[in-house]
Assembly symmetry: C2
Homo-oligomer: 217 residues x 2
DNA sequence: TCTATTTTTTAGTCTACCCTAAAAATATTT
DNA sequence: AAATATTTTTAGGGTAGACTAAAAAATAGA
């Protein structure tokens, strides 16, 4: 395993590669590499049994590939917790450094770090940390876009793109905070959230796809 | 900068490459790569102005190369402190993981980590942590091999090879502990140390080169 | 259905590493 | 000083990962 292969596996996973087929095009975009490089990497990972490949359609993770993806995400998220809680990183700053650290972390290191952090369940943007054995404890959450007016919920998890986290910081949307959806404008218009303290926040239509909420308030 | 180049620069430094010329042979041994690979890496680093090269003699670090070496050692040693103090690694376990982590650590990360650790001065085997600007605060220490019978001292710094640290652990030689040198056998024979509690330890001649002591007790 | 566009693959290069084997230069021994 | 041994360099190859440009396949539109 090399850092590049690991990033590739992780990208496939994040594009839904366990259930669906992921196109080369999506990987080109996600990894910012050429289409030729994607084809090439596909053949390498295919040879190692980490993916299945349907020519001209795309790739899917095998169970072996999925296990590796989950291990990587575990490492990534444990590092994110460390950076945010111990080193005082903002939640939009953790991603880049965690992405580098995850590739050089032995299992020994990660387990020690996990204990040091008190065996956390979530990372700083609400992502569930996969278990040591590669399994995931599922959390009951709904994309905000699927909510209707008057729904009450708390913010469970948000997309971890640096730019998006900055946007949420600017909009003062916080993890764990309770809101009521008071308005959804038609024609993909903005959504208005009202916090328990009465503060209102208006967020864009597309942002509502990147926010997962817990309706069991 | 790549991890390989960084390791190469660090190896030159550790072989005394700031003052003396370091031979290819020494680098072959230190890095466990072929002589041809050393020559090749030399030409790469020469082109980047990190070393000077005298054909058939060896290489030396430029000021630029030295600065990079010190930054790396700073990163390495700060990680060692973290692994030992926060994650409970034994002093012989820290080296391998620190060697990986040092190559993926941004300056931002290292400075945060440094503050989190309380701005330590020494790493777990007594090595001085270089300053942020690449300078080093020199410590007054003497190789144990240069001591004579009846000298009193405390252990200041020891070589950080995993195997050697295991040996010291077995011999119960501890950093900061005070000893008197009570015997040195001739013909490169063993040395006998006596701790303040009367406990005696006999160590091999070659080990005395790898231990630095502070005679100002 | 046929054309046009998009996507994927193939072909050919490039760089950073690494290697072995042989040649050249330096050091050592006799 | 010559022969031998050691060290360094050169020559030629290999792999992983990236690229561009062109060919092939699939999809979309008229």
């Amino acid at each position: 395993m090399t850092p590049n292969k690991e990033d590739f596996i992780k990208a496939i996973y994040e594009l839904g590669g366990h259930e669906q087929v992921v196109s080369n095009k999506a990987l080109v975009k996600a990894l910012s590499i050429s289409a030729a490089s994607v084809t090439e990497m596909n053949t390498r990972l295919l040879k190692e049994g980490l993916i299945t490949h349907l020519p001209y359609q795309g790739v899917q993770l095998t169970d072996k590939g999925l296990r590796i993806a989950n291990q990587l995400i575990r490492k990534h998220r444990i590092w994110e917790v460390f950076l945010a809680e111990k080193l005082g990183y903002d939640w939009n700053e953790v991603h880049k450094d965690a992405d580098l650290l995850e590739h050089v972390s032995s299992d020994f290191l990660i387990e020690r770090l996990n204990v040091f952090l008190g065996e956390p369940t979530f990372d700083p943007h609400g992502g569930v940390i996969p278990n040591k054995d590669g399994t995931i404890t599922e959390i009951d959450s709904t994309p905000l876009i699927e909510c209707t007016v008057d729904d009450q919920f708390k913010i469970q998890e948000v997309d971890d793109q640096e730019e998006f986290l900055e946007y949420l910081l600017y909009k003062n949307v916080q993890l764990g905070k309770k809101y009521t959806l008071v308005d959804v404008e038609p024609y993909d218009g903005p959504l208005t959230l009202e916090a328990v303290d009465g503060e209102r926040t208006i967020i864009g239509h597309k942002a509502a796809f990147k926010i997962l909420v817990d309706k069991n308030v």
